[in-house]
Structure formats: C-alpha cells, structure tokens
Amino acid sequence: MSQETKLITINIDGQDIQVPAGTNVIDAATSAGKEIPHFCYHPHLSVSGNCRMCLVELGTPMIDRATNQPVLDENGKPKISFMPKPAIACSTKATPGMHVKTQTPAIKDCQNGVMEFLLVNHPLDCPICDQAGECRLQEFATDYGRGYSRYIEEKNVKPKRTQLGPRVTLDDERCILCSRCVRFSKEIVKDDVLGFIDRGSYSTLACYPGKKLENNYSLNTVDICPVGALTSTDFRFKMRVWFLKPVNSICTESSVGVNTQVWSREGQIYRITPRRNDAVNDSWMADSGRMLYKQVEDESRLKHYQINGVESTFEAATKAAADLINSGKVAYVGSARMSVEEQFLLREIAEFKLGGMHLVYHQQQGDDLLIAKDASPNLRGALVSGLIKELPKTDLAVLGTRIDSGNVDTLFVAGEDLTKVGLTPAQIAKVKIIYHGTHTNATSEKSAVLLPALTVFERTGCFINQQFRIQKFNTCVPPTNGIRADIEVLSQIQSQVKGEHYKLPNIQAIWEQMGKRINVLAGVTFNSIPDDGLLLDGSDFSALTFCEVKSLHYNVRTSTSTFANT
C-alpha cells in the first residue's frame, strides 16, 4: 500500500485543519467544508491558473533570518506575513503553517471583478442553456457577483452551434476559455484536438483543422465544462437538469466498473454521467457507456412471461421453469452480467439440481483508460460468489459437445444469445430452453419458458470489478411492464426446484447467506458497502490469468503483486 503522507496543519479563515503535505489549497479548503470558487481548476487535470476566480490571501510564518526560527508575536504564536497581493489558490500547495484568507474585503472585490469580466461578453441565455441549474457561472454570479450589470456596450458575437464532433455541440459565446476541455483531451485521452484560436475577446475554442472531437471520451468535456459552452448533442434541449433525479449506478460496459449517476425523471432516463471515484474512474467515463440507457426503452425489450410462446404469469412461468429443471438433464448458462446476488442464487439452484455451469468470457478490444478487455462487469463476481471455479472459455463449445452426446436436454440461460457463442442451431434444437434475459434475440425466440429480466437500471445489486472492488448499483427507474426483479425470479425458481415455500427475497437476507458461505464476504453486508465500493481480497484467484491488461487505475502486473502480498 502507498506510504502514509505526512499531515501538516494549515489555517483557513482562522480555522486550523490537517491536510497531507502538498495538497492543493482549493482541495484543502473543500475538505474543511469551505468553498474557494474556481472555474479552470479540476482535481484530475493539470493546473492552468487562467480564470483567476480562486484568488485568496496567502500568508506563511515569518522566519528570523539570523536564527532560522519562527518569529513569535506577544502571545507566543508564530507571526504570519501575508503576501501584499492576492494569489491563486489552485496553483498553491499547502505548506506547514500556511494561512489562507478567503473572505476578506479585498478578496470579495477580486471575485466581484472577475465575475464582472467573465460576464461582459456572456450571452446570458440561461433560459435556453442546458447547463442552467448546474452552471458554475450561474452559481458564482449569485454567490460572488455584483447582481447587476454595468455593461451597456454591444456584446461579442460568436458561433452558437458548432459541431465539434459527433456527440458534442459548442456554443462559443458561453465559453469562458478555462481550457479544461483542452487539457482533458491532451492529458487524459491523449487526443490533442482542441485548442484556442484568435486573441483577446475573439478567442474561440476550435478543433485542430481537419480533425474532430470524436474520441470515445469526448463527452467528459461536456461534464467538466463549467459553463454551458460544451453540450451533449444527445441530451441537448431534452430536459432541464433540475427535474432529473440522480441515482448511483455502475457502468456495465466492461470490468472496469465505472461509477456513474443515472439521471431520470418519472421513470425515464435522460442521461448518464460519471461519478467521481478516485480509485476507479476519477471523474471520467466513456461515451459508449453513456448510451447504454437506451436499452431500457428499446423496442426489443422482453415484456411478458411466456410458456411455449403463450403469454403467462410470473408464478406459472417460474413453476414451468422449475419443472423443466427438475425433470430433465439440465445444464446452466450463467453470465458475468448478473449481479453477485443473482449469481449466488443461481449457484444454489445448480447445487441442488446438479448440472454443468457454463459461462462465456466476453472479450473486446478495450483501451487503456476505462474500457477493459473483459466486456462484462462481473466476472470476478462469478468467481467470488462460487458460481464458477475457473475462468470460462470464450465460447460454449464444451456445452455443445455435452448436448451432442445427449447429456443435456434442458438449458437454463441467463441472458446469453446461444447462437452467438458457439452453439449450432442443431444443438439448440435438441434442448428445451429456459431463457431469462432482457431483450429479444434468436435464443429467446426458441425458448420453452421465457422469463423477462430487468436491465441494470431497474434493479439493485453489486458487481465486482477487475480490481476485486465490490460496488453497488441501485434501482434508477421502476421496472418495465411490472417485470419482477431478477433475484425474485431466481429465488422463486429456487424454492420451486427445492419444493420449498416461496419467500419474497430481500437483498439483506441474500447477503446474510452469502456472508455465511463465502469467506471473503464474511462480515460484509449490503448496506455496509460504501458508495465508492469495497476492495475485496482477491488472493484466492491470483493463479488465474484474466484478460485485462491495463486501465486508468489497474495494471495487471502491480495488481497481481498486491494480491500476492495481502
């Protein structure tokens, strides 16, 4: 683990606080519950210091040159010498004994002046601006601004809807030239396409000639833009943010487990944004992951329980599924897209009515930021929950041979399209399929019992990411068409298979069971998992070679060595 950094004491507005040495003064103030207003500073980007909003008065203890000792005042306290002029907090690092004043009349004057200059050419089109409601400029204008404008001259005119790329629209009039987006593209994505052209009040954000802002992380520029200059073309003019309710979730795009917030109004999702987690995704997420909400209202969603193509009820369909499992030679196709809880329930079914458990190792291209090679969010969960003991293959060829040799005549399938993972139509025709998935596909159409499932946005549970960090996702919108949660379906089938009385499952109770049976989860409860996840001990699986190589906060070499040490 990293070395404990030395704590030092600094004083902000008369309040002593302890921070690690070298902390940025803005962050130090935030940790003390104080706000130093800032536009261009971002904790995950380099400091550029161009907006001047973060001006504060800085002082350091006076040192006697002769004795090299701090000069003391009559009370025996070190004397502080303040700089004659304000300094920007964002490019200042905390040093021992430093004094920061954020509330003096001089500072208020500075903030007032900076706000006035920023608003000189601002179009003030808040009524049509998507950023309204989460706009730094709006907030700071009310908190630190003058409250009225003295500017009567003509305002600058700039292009209002430039397409910077396929997903990002730029309104140049609103841009305050903070360069966050420029720094993001250059430093994080290493796709240096943005820059400023022209000078003075003609300065404009633009793409390098012949290039576009089209990398898969372009929408992060929209998130970090402190004003409404960069807007998401998908979300543009769709809904005002104050109507949207954010719910914490996890991106299912890959095993990175990007922390997200899903914003919905009245059961309809409008956008997905990243949620800060410095151990996983910092403040970023991929554009592709943001579009996943569209699956919720997709045409091909499965909406009805069916037995042999005839619409049925939850009770009858789960009963039929259980009967099929009990009567036949069953095999299970689990999934690394199920939550840990669901995987555990499936494991229990498979332990009662034995049959092979088959999973597919979905792999993709990936990049070294936030899309891992493992295309499913919860393969580690399948291992931890005991659903599987070793890494799955990339297709179901083994299951295919088992079907051919007549060992399997019933399949429980959790959301895999069998036609795409190595089973031939002839093999599929030989088995009765119980399909539990979200969308229509070739397998769901062939199924004997069809159990519609919920998307990640409609259920609650946990995923374990590539770092063996267990993270919670919460129900963001109510289930489509009254479909029951996946854990309800699985527990119903489980009690039917075992011939027990059905109890409505509750996630806490499932966690109690898991805590008893799974060593690394002992003592963990669902409620005790913090919002930024809980790092589990993955040493049991250190012998396995996972396909991920490197992500923002994951490196295969360092991580295996960490596991070996713990």
């Binding site: 009524p127 003019f237 109507f243």
Partner: protein, 179 residues
C-alpha cells in the same frame, strides 16, 4: 362558573313588533329603488380589471413569433403541477428563428389543476405566459380541459413587448462583432 345573563323584559313598543317591521321594510324599499348590482350573466359580462388572474395563456410577440423558449421554469414553479412541456430545438435551417434555438414542442396546461396563482407568469424570463381575462371554463371531459400549445396561443394572442431580446440577438448576429 356559570354566569347568569340578565335578559331585559321587552318594552310595550317592542311587544307590538311594529318598529322592527317598519325598519325592515325601510331597508327593503331603499334597496328596491337603488341602482341594480346584479349582472345578467352570461348575457352581460363584468368588466375585468387589469391584473386579473384568469387562465394562463401563451402569448406571441408583436412580430407574431412564439416567445416561449421552453425553459420549463413555469413547469418547475407551478404548485399543482398543471404545466407539462416537451422542449424542442429550432433547426438551424429556420433562419428566421434559429437564433432562439429552443421552443416548446408541446406545451400543456391542465386547467383543472391550475389554481390561478400566477407563479408561471411571474417566473417566466421571456414574458411568454400571462394569466389573462378568461375566467370561466367548462367542458364535457377532463381531456378537453387540458389545453395544448395551439389552444393556449389562440387564447393568448399578442401582447405588447418592449424587450425584443431575441430580435436584438439576431441583428447582432447579422452585424457581427462591433469592434
């Protein structure tokens, strides 16, 4: 503690009831010959004073353009949640209005919910919604009383405007930078 209220016995005059009857007749007769205040509603209609809060309506500017930019502030502020807006973009091809960028696709006010508080009018940054003088509404179904955008504009009509904010923006955009 019980309190005994003394009741004065009636005088002789009071016993006759005549003074009371005369007094009553006097009131009746004076009112009979006074100017009448009753309006023969609905044939006769009252004069609606300025600032009256009738039903909320959408208005156009004197150039006949819709002023609402679907900022949804009225939807947010409306206490009984009577307003429902589907925002939309004005396409860039619409050169007349493209500088406004945004306008409502749908604008619904449920008049059965509206409590005529006037908050929407107060909050509107574009002066696009006004509670005007229509005060009596009736209909055969609930749906009929959910007014759509077109109807709201019909009732609203045009009101004088002194800002022409978006016009100024457009001419500025045409003129380009001043310096």
């Amino acid at each position: 503690m019980a309190k005994v209220v003394d009741r004065k016995p009636l005088t002789w005059a009071e016993h006759t009831y005549l003074p009371q009857i005369v007094g009553g007749l006097k009131i009746t007769l004076t009112n009979l010959f006074r100017k009448k205040v009753t309006l023969q509603y609905p044939e006769e209609r009252p004069v609606i004073p300025d600032g009256y809060r009738g039903i909320p309506t959408l208005v156009k500017d004197p150039n006949g353009r819709e002023k609402c930019v679907s900022c949804q502030l009225c939807e947010f502020v409306c206490p009984p949640k009577a307003i429902r807006i589907t925002p939309g973009a004005i396409p860039e091809e619409n050169t007349e209005r493209a500088h406004i960028e945004k306008a409502p696709q749908e604008f619904e006010i449920n008049m059965l919910r509206c409590i005529y508080c006037g908050f929407c009018q107060e909050v509107c940054p574009e002066e696009a919604i006004f509670l005007q003088d229509t005060f009596s509404l009736s209909g055969y179904s609930r749906e009929e009383l959910v007014f759509q955008k077109q109807k709201l504009y019909e009732i609203g009509g045009t009101l004088p405007d002194k800002h022409f904010k978006w016009d100024k923006k457009r001419s500025a955009a045409h003129a380009g930078n001043a310096h």
